[in-house]
Point group: C2
Chain length 210, copies 2
DNA sequence: ATCGGTTCTGTAACTTGTTCTAGATTAGCG
DNA sequence: CGCTAATCTAGAACAAGTTACAGAACCGAT
Protein backbone atom coordinates (compact mmCIF):
# COMPACT_ATOMS: atom_id res chain seq x y z
CA UNK A 1 0.00 0.00 0.00
CA UNK A 2 2.38 2.69 -1.10
CA UNK A 3 0.60 5.86 -0.28
CA UNK A 4 1.60 9.07 -1.93
CA UNK A 5 3.42 10.54 1.00
CA UNK A 6 6.26 12.80 -0.01
CA UNK A 7 8.65 9.97 -0.54
CA UNK A 8 11.38 10.36 -3.11
CA UNK A 9 14.04 7.73 -3.16
CA UNK A 10 16.69 8.92 -5.56
CA UNK A 11 19.65 7.71 -3.59
CA UNK A 12 19.38 6.46 -0.06
CA UNK A 13 17.77 3.13 0.75
CA UNK A 14 14.43 4.56 1.67
CA UNK A 15 14.84 6.06 5.10
CA UNK A 16 11.90 4.65 7.00
CA UNK A 17 9.86 7.50 8.42
CA UNK A 18 10.84 8.28 11.98
CA UNK A 19 8.34 8.60 14.74
CA UNK A 20 8.28 11.77 16.76
CA UNK A 21 10.25 10.30 19.61
CA UNK A 22 12.80 8.99 17.18
CA UNK A 23 13.16 12.36 15.56
CA UNK A 24 13.64 13.85 19.00
CA UNK A 25 16.30 11.27 19.82
CA UNK A 26 18.13 12.09 16.62
CA UNK A 27 18.03 15.75 17.50
CA UNK A 28 19.33 15.16 21.00
CA UNK A 29 22.17 13.08 19.65
CA UNK A 30 23.21 15.69 17.11
CA UNK A 31 22.96 18.39 19.73
CA UNK A 32 25.11 16.46 22.17
CA UNK A 33 27.62 15.78 19.43
CA UNK A 34 27.92 19.44 18.53
CA UNK A 35 28.14 20.40 22.18
CA UNK A 36 30.95 18.00 22.98
CA UNK A 37 32.73 18.83 19.74
CA UNK A 38 32.49 22.52 20.53
CA UNK A 39 34.11 21.91 23.87
CA UNK A 40 37.09 19.77 22.91
CA UNK A 41 37.10 18.93 19.23
CA UNK A 42 37.26 15.52 17.63
CA UNK A 43 38.68 13.68 20.61
CA UNK A 44 36.10 15.10 23.00
CA UNK A 45 33.28 13.51 21.04
CA UNK A 46 33.30 10.13 22.75
CA UNK A 47 30.51 7.81 21.84
CA UNK A 48 29.77 6.85 25.44
CA UNK A 49 29.55 10.50 26.41
CA UNK A 50 27.36 11.37 23.45
CA UNK A 51 25.05 8.52 24.43
CA UNK A 52 24.87 9.62 28.03
CA UNK A 53 24.45 13.32 27.24
CA UNK A 54 21.60 12.60 24.85
CA UNK A 55 19.91 10.08 27.16
CA UNK A 56 20.23 7.23 24.76
CA UNK A 57 21.78 3.81 25.10
CA UNK A 58 25.08 3.21 23.35
CA UNK A 59 23.52 0.63 21.07
CA UNK A 60 20.82 3.08 20.05
CA UNK A 61 23.40 5.71 19.22
CA UNK A 62 25.02 3.21 16.90
CA UNK A 63 21.69 2.39 15.35
CA UNK A 64 21.19 6.03 14.44
CA UNK A 65 24.78 6.69 13.40
CA UNK A 66 26.79 3.61 12.54
CA UNK A 67 30.12 5.18 13.50
CA UNK A 68 31.66 8.23 15.09
CA UNK A 69 32.56 9.46 11.64
CA UNK A 70 28.98 9.10 10.46
CA UNK A 71 27.84 11.04 13.49
CA UNK A 72 30.24 13.90 12.93
CA UNK A 73 29.55 14.09 9.23
CA UNK A 74 25.84 14.26 10.02
CA UNK A 75 26.65 17.00 12.51
CA UNK A 76 28.40 18.86 9.73
CA UNK A 77 25.38 18.45 7.46
CA UNK A 78 23.29 19.98 10.19
CA UNK A 79 25.60 22.94 10.73
CA UNK A 80 25.95 23.53 7.01
CA UNK A 81 22.20 23.75 6.63
CA UNK A 82 22.16 26.48 9.25
CA UNK A 83 25.03 28.23 7.55
CA UNK A 84 23.33 28.05 4.19
CA UNK A 85 20.11 29.65 5.35
CA UNK A 86 22.07 32.25 7.35
CA UNK A 87 24.17 33.14 4.35
CA UNK A 88 21.14 33.39 2.14
CA UNK A 89 19.68 36.07 4.35
CA UNK A 90 22.58 38.38 3.63
CA UNK A 91 23.91 37.73 0.15
CA UNK A 92 27.42 38.93 -0.67
CA UNK A 93 27.78 42.57 -1.60
CA UNK A 94 30.62 42.36 -4.08
CA UNK A 95 29.90 42.67 -7.77
CA UNK A 96 32.38 40.18 -9.17
CA UNK A 97 31.29 36.53 -8.96
CA UNK A 98 34.74 35.51 -7.77
CA UNK A 99 34.80 38.20 -5.13
CA UNK A 100 31.32 37.20 -4.01
CA UNK A 101 32.38 33.61 -3.52
CA UNK A 102 35.48 34.70 -1.63
CA UNK A 103 33.39 36.95 0.57
CA UNK A 104 30.93 34.18 1.31
CA UNK A 105 33.63 31.69 2.14
CA UNK A 106 35.32 34.18 4.42
CA UNK A 107 32.05 34.62 6.25
CA UNK A 108 31.82 30.89 6.70
CA UNK A 109 35.42 30.88 7.83
CA UNK A 110 34.71 33.50 10.47
CA UNK A 111 31.86 31.37 11.73
CA UNK A 112 34.32 28.53 12.12
CA UNK A 113 36.76 30.75 13.96
CA UNK A 114 34.06 31.29 16.55
CA UNK A 115 33.88 27.53 17.16
CA UNK A 116 37.28 26.18 16.22
CA UNK A 117 36.84 22.95 18.17
CA UNK A 118 33.59 22.18 16.46
CA UNK A 119 35.14 22.94 13.11
CA UNK A 120 38.04 20.66 13.96
CA UNK A 121 35.79 17.74 14.76
CA UNK A 122 33.66 18.12 11.67
CA UNK A 123 36.42 18.73 9.16
CA UNK A 124 38.63 15.97 10.51
CA UNK A 125 35.75 13.55 10.31
CA UNK A 126 34.96 14.67 6.80
CA UNK A 127 38.44 14.07 5.45
CA UNK A 128 38.96 10.89 7.40
CA UNK A 129 35.76 9.31 6.18
CA UNK A 130 36.22 6.18 4.13
CA UNK A 131 34.00 4.67 1.45
CA UNK A 132 31.35 3.56 3.93
CA UNK A 133 30.50 7.21 4.54
CA UNK A 134 30.58 8.30 0.91
CA UNK A 135 26.87 9.06 0.57
CA UNK A 136 26.88 11.29 3.61
CA UNK A 137 30.09 13.04 2.62
CA UNK A 138 28.61 13.57 -0.80
CA UNK A 139 25.65 15.29 0.75
CA UNK A 140 27.98 17.67 2.53
CA UNK A 141 29.77 18.28 -0.72
CA UNK A 142 26.54 19.08 -2.51
CA UNK A 143 25.59 21.49 0.23
CA UNK A 144 28.91 23.26 -0.09
CA UNK A 145 28.54 23.42 -3.84
CA UNK A 146 25.10 24.92 -3.43
CA UNK A 147 26.47 27.61 -1.14
CA UNK A 148 29.17 28.52 -3.63
CA UNK A 149 26.84 28.54 -6.60
CA UNK A 150 24.47 30.70 -4.62
CA UNK A 151 27.27 33.14 -3.96
CA UNK A 152 28.12 33.27 -7.64
CA UNK A 153 24.61 34.39 -8.32
CA UNK A 154 24.08 32.39 -11.45
CA UNK A 155 20.82 32.93 -13.16
CA UNK A 156 21.32 30.19 -15.68
CA UNK A 157 22.95 26.83 -15.23
CA UNK A 158 26.68 26.81 -14.66
CA UNK A 159 29.01 25.76 -17.44
CA UNK A 160 31.13 22.63 -17.01
CA UNK A 161 34.17 24.85 -16.62
CA UNK A 162 32.50 26.75 -13.87
CA UNK A 163 31.60 23.54 -12.13
CA UNK A 164 35.22 22.47 -12.32
CA UNK A 165 36.26 25.74 -10.81
CA UNK A 166 33.73 25.28 -8.05
CA UNK A 167 35.08 21.83 -7.30
CA UNK A 168 38.61 23.18 -7.10
CA UNK A 169 37.38 25.91 -4.79
CA UNK A 170 35.84 23.28 -2.57
CA UNK A 171 39.08 21.34 -2.52
CA UNK A 172 40.99 24.44 -1.52
CA UNK A 173 38.41 25.35 1.07
CA UNK A 174 38.61 21.99 2.82
CA UNK A 175 42.35 21.68 2.66
CA UNK A 176 42.98 25.25 3.73
CA UNK A 177 40.70 24.69 6.70
CA UNK A 178 42.73 21.68 7.67
CA UNK A 179 46.02 23.53 7.54
CA UNK A 180 44.52 26.27 9.66
CA UNK A 181 43.01 23.85 12.17
CA UNK A 182 46.28 22.02 12.57
CA UNK A 183 48.11 25.27 13.15
CA UNK A 184 50.18 25.19 9.97
CA UNK A 185 48.56 28.20 8.35
CA UNK A 186 47.38 31.52 9.71
CA UNK A 187 44.01 33.09 9.19
CA UNK A 188 45.60 35.53 6.78
CA UNK A 189 47.07 32.66 4.84
CA UNK A 190 43.69 31.01 4.47
CA UNK A 191 42.24 34.28 3.27
CA UNK A 192 44.90 34.59 0.61
CA UNK A 193 44.38 31.03 -0.54
CA UNK A 194 40.65 31.53 -0.85
CA UNK A 195 41.09 34.74 -2.77
CA UNK A 196 43.66 33.14 -5.00
CA UNK A 197 41.53 30.18 -5.93
CA UNK A 198 38.49 32.35 -6.49
CA UNK A 199 40.30 34.00 -9.33
CA UNK A 200 39.60 30.82 -11.23
CA UNK A 201 36.02 31.90 -11.54
CA UNK A 202 36.93 34.95 -13.55
CA UNK A 203 38.83 32.71 -15.92
CA UNK A 204 36.03 30.36 -16.70
CA UNK A 205 33.47 30.76 -19.38
CA UNK A 206 31.71 33.74 -17.89
CA UNK A 207 28.03 34.20 -18.15
CA UNK A 208 27.65 36.10 -21.33
CA UNK A 209 26.86 39.71 -20.57
CA UNK A 210 23.50 40.75 -21.92
CA UNK B 1 74.46 13.86 34.48
CA UNK B 2 73.62 17.15 32.93
CA UNK B 3 76.04 16.96 30.09
CA UNK B 4 76.09 19.63 27.46
CA UNK B 5 74.96 17.29 24.73
CA UNK B 6 71.31 17.70 23.87
CA UNK B 7 69.60 14.90 25.70
CA UNK B 8 65.85 14.78 25.92
CA UNK B 9 64.87 17.99 24.27
CA UNK B 10 61.10 18.12 24.13
CA UNK B 11 61.33 20.16 20.97
CA UNK B 12 61.89 19.31 17.37
CA UNK B 13 65.28 20.11 16.03
CA UNK B 14 68.39 18.09 16.69
CA UNK B 15 67.75 14.39 16.12
CA UNK B 16 70.51 12.66 18.00
CA UNK B 17 72.58 10.64 15.53
CA UNK B 18 71.35 7.09 15.20
CA UNK B 19 73.63 4.12 15.41
CA UNK B 20 73.74 1.69 12.54
CA UNK B 21 71.42 -0.80 14.19
CA UNK B 22 69.02 1.98 15.01
CA UNK B 23 69.03 3.20 11.45
CA UNK B 24 68.36 -0.36 10.35
CA UNK B 25 65.47 -0.66 12.80
CA UNK B 26 63.97 2.54 11.50
CA UNK B 27 64.24 1.24 7.96
CA UNK B 28 62.60 -2.06 8.86
CA UNK B 29 59.76 -0.24 10.54
CA UNK B 30 59.12 2.05 7.58
CA UNK B 31 59.33 -0.90 5.24
CA UNK B 32 56.87 -2.91 7.26
CA UNK B 33 54.55 0.06 7.42
CA UNK B 34 54.58 0.55 3.66
CA UNK B 35 54.12 -3.16 3.12
CA UNK B 36 51.09 -3.45 5.37
CA UNK B 37 49.65 -0.21 4.03
CA UNK B 38 50.08 -1.45 0.50
CA UNK B 39 48.15 -4.56 1.36
CA UNK B 40 45.13 -3.13 3.12
CA UNK B 41 45.36 0.62 3.54
CA UNK B 42 45.13 2.64 6.71
CA UNK B 43 43.33 0.01 8.76
CA UNK B 44 45.79 -2.71 7.86
CA UNK B 45 48.65 -0.79 9.43
CA UNK B 46 48.26 -2.08 12.96
CA UNK B 47 50.95 -1.12 15.37
CA UNK B 48 51.34 -4.63 16.78
CA UNK B 49 51.72 -6.03 13.31
CA UNK B 50 54.19 -3.38 12.28
CA UNK B 51 56.21 -4.17 15.38
CA UNK B 52 56.17 -7.90 14.74
CA UNK B 53 56.90 -7.60 11.02
CA UNK B 54 59.88 -5.37 11.68
CA UNK B 55 61.18 -7.48 14.58
CA UNK B 56 60.88 -4.73 17.08
CA UNK B 57 59.09 -4.50 20.39
CA UNK B 58 55.93 -2.45 20.53
CA UNK B 59 57.51 0.00 22.95
CA UNK B 60 60.43 0.49 20.60
CA UNK B 61 58.11 1.20 17.71
CA UNK B 62 56.53 3.93 19.79
CA UNK B 63 59.92 5.30 20.65
CA UNK B 64 60.72 5.72 16.98
CA UNK B 65 57.29 6.92 15.94
CA UNK B 66 55.15 8.32 18.74
CA UNK B 67 51.87 7.44 17.03
CA UNK B 68 50.42 5.60 14.09
CA UNK B 69 49.88 8.94 12.38
CA UNK B 70 53.51 9.88 12.89
CA UNK B 71 54.53 6.55 11.41
CA UNK B 72 52.37 6.95 8.33
CA UNK B 73 53.38 10.53 7.77
CA UNK B 74 57.01 9.44 7.97
CA UNK B 75 56.19 6.72 5.49
CA UNK B 76 54.81 9.36 3.19
CA UNK B 77 57.98 11.44 3.57
CA UNK B 78 59.91 8.40 2.54
CA UNK B 79 57.78 7.69 -0.51
CA UNK B 80 57.78 11.33 -1.54
CA UNK B 81 61.56 11.40 -1.50
CA UNK B 82 61.58 8.48 -3.91
CA UNK B 83 58.98 10.16 -6.07
CA UNK B 84 60.94 13.40 -6.13
CA UNK B 85 64.15 11.83 -7.32
CA UNK B 86 62.24 9.69 -9.81
CA UNK B 87 60.44 12.70 -11.20
CA UNK B 88 63.66 14.64 -11.46
CA UNK B 89 65.10 12.05 -13.75
CA UNK B 90 62.45 12.70 -16.36
CA UNK B 91 61.38 16.31 -16.20
CA UNK B 92 58.05 17.23 -17.77
CA UNK B 93 58.01 17.76 -21.51
CA UNK B 94 55.37 20.43 -21.80
CA UNK B 95 56.39 24.00 -22.46
CA UNK B 96 53.85 25.85 -20.36
CA UNK B 97 54.67 26.01 -16.64
CA UNK B 98 51.08 25.19 -15.76
CA UNK B 99 50.99 22.25 -18.13
CA UNK B 100 54.29 21.01 -16.75
CA UNK B 101 52.94 21.03 -13.23
CA UNK B 102 49.79 19.25 -14.33
CA UNK B 103 51.85 16.65 -16.14
CA UNK B 104 54.04 16.06 -13.13
CA UNK B 105 51.10 15.74 -10.77
CA UNK B 106 49.42 13.30 -13.13
CA UNK B 107 52.57 11.20 -13.09
CA UNK B 108 52.49 11.20 -9.33
CA UNK B 109 48.83 10.33 -9.48
CA UNK B 110 49.50 7.36 -11.71
CA UNK B 111 52.08 6.15 -9.24
CA UNK B 112 49.41 6.28 -6.57
CA UNK B 113 46.99 4.36 -8.75
CA UNK B 114 49.50 1.54 -8.76
CA UNK B 115 49.34 1.37 -4.95
CA UNK B 116 45.95 2.73 -4.00
CA UNK B 117 45.99 1.15 -0.55
CA UNK B 118 49.33 2.70 0.28
CA UNK B 119 48.10 6.04 -1.00
CA UNK B 120 45.01 5.69 1.14
CA UNK B 121 46.97 5.07 4.31
CA UNK B 122 49.37 7.93 3.73
CA UNK B 123 46.87 10.55 2.62
CA UNK B 124 44.37 9.71 5.34
CA UNK B 125 47.10 9.99 7.95
CA UNK B 126 48.25 13.27 6.49
CA UNK B 127 44.86 14.94 6.65
CA UNK B 128 43.95 13.43 9.99
CA UNK B 129 47.13 14.59 11.67
CA UNK B 130 46.61 17.04 14.50
CA UNK B 131 48.93 19.69 15.87
CA UNK B 132 51.30 17.18 17.44
CA UNK B 133 52.34 16.08 13.97
CA UNK B 134 52.63 19.54 12.48
CA UNK B 135 56.40 19.52 11.97
CA UNK B 136 56.30 16.23 10.10
CA UNK B 137 53.30 17.25 8.01
CA UNK B 138 55.09 20.46 7.23
CA UNK B 139 58.03 18.51 5.93
CA UNK B 140 55.73 16.63 3.59
CA UNK B 141 54.24 19.90 2.47
CA UNK B 142 57.66 21.35 1.75
CA UNK B 143 58.55 18.27 -0.27
CA UNK B 144 55.39 18.61 -2.31
CA UNK B 145 56.07 22.29 -2.86
CA UNK B 146 59.56 21.46 -4.03
CA UNK B 147 58.21 18.98 -6.55
CA UNK B 148 55.78 21.52 -7.94
CA UNK B 149 58.34 24.30 -8.10
CA UNK B 150 60.70 21.90 -9.83
CA UNK B 151 58.04 21.16 -12.40
CA UNK B 152 57.50 24.84 -13.01
CA UNK B 153 61.15 25.13 -13.90
CA UNK B 154 61.75 28.42 -12.20
CA UNK B 155 65.17 29.86 -12.64
CA UNK B 156 64.66 32.70 -10.25
CA UNK B 157 62.76 32.77 -7.02
CA UNK B 158 59.02 32.47 -7.23
CA UNK B 159 56.86 35.50 -6.67
CA UNK B 160 54.48 35.60 -3.72
CA UNK B 161 51.60 35.19 -6.13
CA UNK B 162 53.17 32.10 -7.57
CA UNK B 163 53.69 30.70 -4.11
CA UNK B 164 50.03 31.28 -3.37
CA UNK B 165 49.10 29.47 -6.56
CA UNK B 166 51.36 26.60 -5.58
CA UNK B 167 49.71 26.36 -2.19
CA UNK B 168 46.29 26.26 -3.79
CA UNK B 169 47.52 23.56 -6.14
CA UNK B 170 48.70 21.57 -3.16
CA UNK B 171 45.33 21.98 -1.48
CA UNK B 172 43.58 20.75 -4.60
CA UNK B 173 45.99 17.89 -5.00
CA UNK B 174 45.42 16.58 -1.50
CA UNK B 175 41.69 17.04 -1.51
CA UNK B 176 41.23 15.60 -4.97
CA UNK B 177 43.22 12.57 -3.90
CA UNK B 178 40.91 12.10 -0.97
CA UNK B 179 37.79 12.26 -3.08
CA UNK B 180 39.30 9.71 -5.44
CA UNK B 181 40.43 7.41 -2.64
CA UNK B 182 37.02 7.46 -1.04
CA UNK B 183 35.39 6.65 -4.34
CA UNK B 184 33.57 9.93 -4.78
CA UNK B 185 35.52 11.08 -7.83
CA UNK B 186 36.82 9.27 -10.87
CA UNK B 187 40.33 9.35 -12.20
CA UNK B 188 39.12 11.56 -15.03
CA UNK B 189 37.60 13.93 -12.53
CA UNK B 190 40.88 14.24 -10.65
CA UNK B 191 42.64 14.94 -13.91
CA UNK B 192 40.23 17.73 -14.74
CA UNK B 193 40.58 19.25 -11.30
CA UNK B 194 44.35 19.23 -11.52
CA UNK B 195 44.30 20.78 -14.95
CA UNK B 196 41.81 23.37 -13.83
CA UNK B 197 43.80 24.49 -10.83
CA UNK B 198 47.03 24.57 -12.79
CA UNK B 199 45.58 27.32 -14.89
CA UNK B 200 46.22 29.54 -11.90
CA UNK B 201 49.88 29.42 -12.72
CA UNK B 202 49.36 31.10 -16.04
CA UNK B 203 47.64 33.91 -14.20
CA UNK B 204 50.61 34.68 -12.05
CA UNK B 205 53.49 34.98 -14.43
CA UNK B 206 56.34 37.02 -12.98
CA UNK B 207 57.20 38.54 -16.31
CA UNK B 208 53.62 39.42 -17.07
CA UNK B 209 52.43 42.70 -15.63
CA UNK B 210 48.83 42.21 -16.69
C1' DA C 1 -6.69 -4.37 25.36
C1' DT C 2 -3.66 -7.87 23.37
C1' DC C 3 -0.29 -9.91 20.51
C1' DG C 4 4.05 -9.94 17.68
C1' DG C 5 7.70 -7.76 15.97
C1' DT C 6 10.70 -3.95 16.29
C1' DT C 7 13.28 -0.69 18.97
C1' DC C 8 15.57 0.72 23.13
C1' DT C 9 18.28 -0.13 27.36
C1' DG C 10 22.01 -1.69 30.17
C1' DT C 11 25.98 -4.08 30.24
C1' DA C 12 29.76 -6.91 28.99
C1' DA C 13 33.07 -8.17 25.65
C1' DC C 14 36.15 -7.44 21.91
C1' DT C 15 39.56 -4.56 19.03
C1' DT C 16 43.31 -1.71 18.37
C1' DG C 17 45.98 2.46 19.59
C1' DT C 18 48.67 3.81 23.46
C1' DT C 19 51.03 3.65 28.00
C1' DC C 20 53.55 1.44 31.63
C1' DT C 21 56.83 -1.65 33.98
C1' DA C 22 60.50 -4.82 35.06
C1' DG C 23 64.21 -7.04 33.43
C1' DA C 24 67.70 -8.03 29.51
C1' DT C 25 70.77 -5.96 26.12
C1' DT C 26 73.61 -2.56 24.21
C1' DA C 27 76.60 1.53 23.60
C1' DG C 28 79.98 4.50 25.05
C1' DC C 29 83.80 5.37 28.13
C1' DG C 30 87.43 5.13 31.59
C1' DC D 1 87.67 -5.32 30.47
C1' DG D 2 84.04 -3.36 33.63
C1' DC D 3 80.68 0.22 34.68
C1' DT D 4 76.68 3.07 33.91
C1' DA D 5 73.12 5.03 31.42
C1' DA D 6 70.39 4.54 27.68
C1' DT D 7 67.86 1.48 24.85
C1' DC D 8 65.31 -2.64 23.82
C1' DT D 9 62.11 -6.57 24.86
C1' DA D 10 58.09 -8.90 26.49
C1' DG D 11 54.00 -8.49 28.32
C1' DA D 12 50.31 -6.46 31.02
C1' DA D 13 47.24 -2.74 31.42
C1' DC D 14 44.39 1.08 29.95
C1' DA D 15 41.25 3.93 26.67
C1' DA D 16 37.84 4.54 23.38
C1' DG D 17 35.38 2.78 19.22
C1' DT D 18 32.57 -0.99 18.16
C1' DT D 19 29.83 -5.24 18.67
C1' DA D 20 26.87 -8.59 21.04
C1' DC D 21 23.08 -9.91 23.75
C1' DA D 22 19.22 -10.50 27.11
C1' DG D 23 15.40 -8.31 28.72
C1' DA D 24 12.18 -4.06 28.93
C1' DA D 25 9.52 -0.72 26.41
C1' DC D 26 7.13 0.63 22.40
C1' DC D 27 4.39 0.55 18.11
C1' DG D 28 0.96 -0.93 14.93
C1' DA D 29 -2.64 -4.13 13.75
C1' DT D 30 -6.10 -7.11 15.23
Amino acid sequence: MGHMTSEHRPALPATPPLTERQEARRRRILHASAQLAGRGGFDAVQMREVAELSNVALGTLYRYFPSKIHLLVATMQDQLQHMHTTLRKRPPTESDPGARVAQTLMRAFRAMQREPHLADAMVRALTFADRSVSPEVDTVSRLTTAIILDAMGLDSAATPEQLSAVRVIEHTWHSALITWLSGRASIAQVKIDIETVCRLIELTGPQRPE
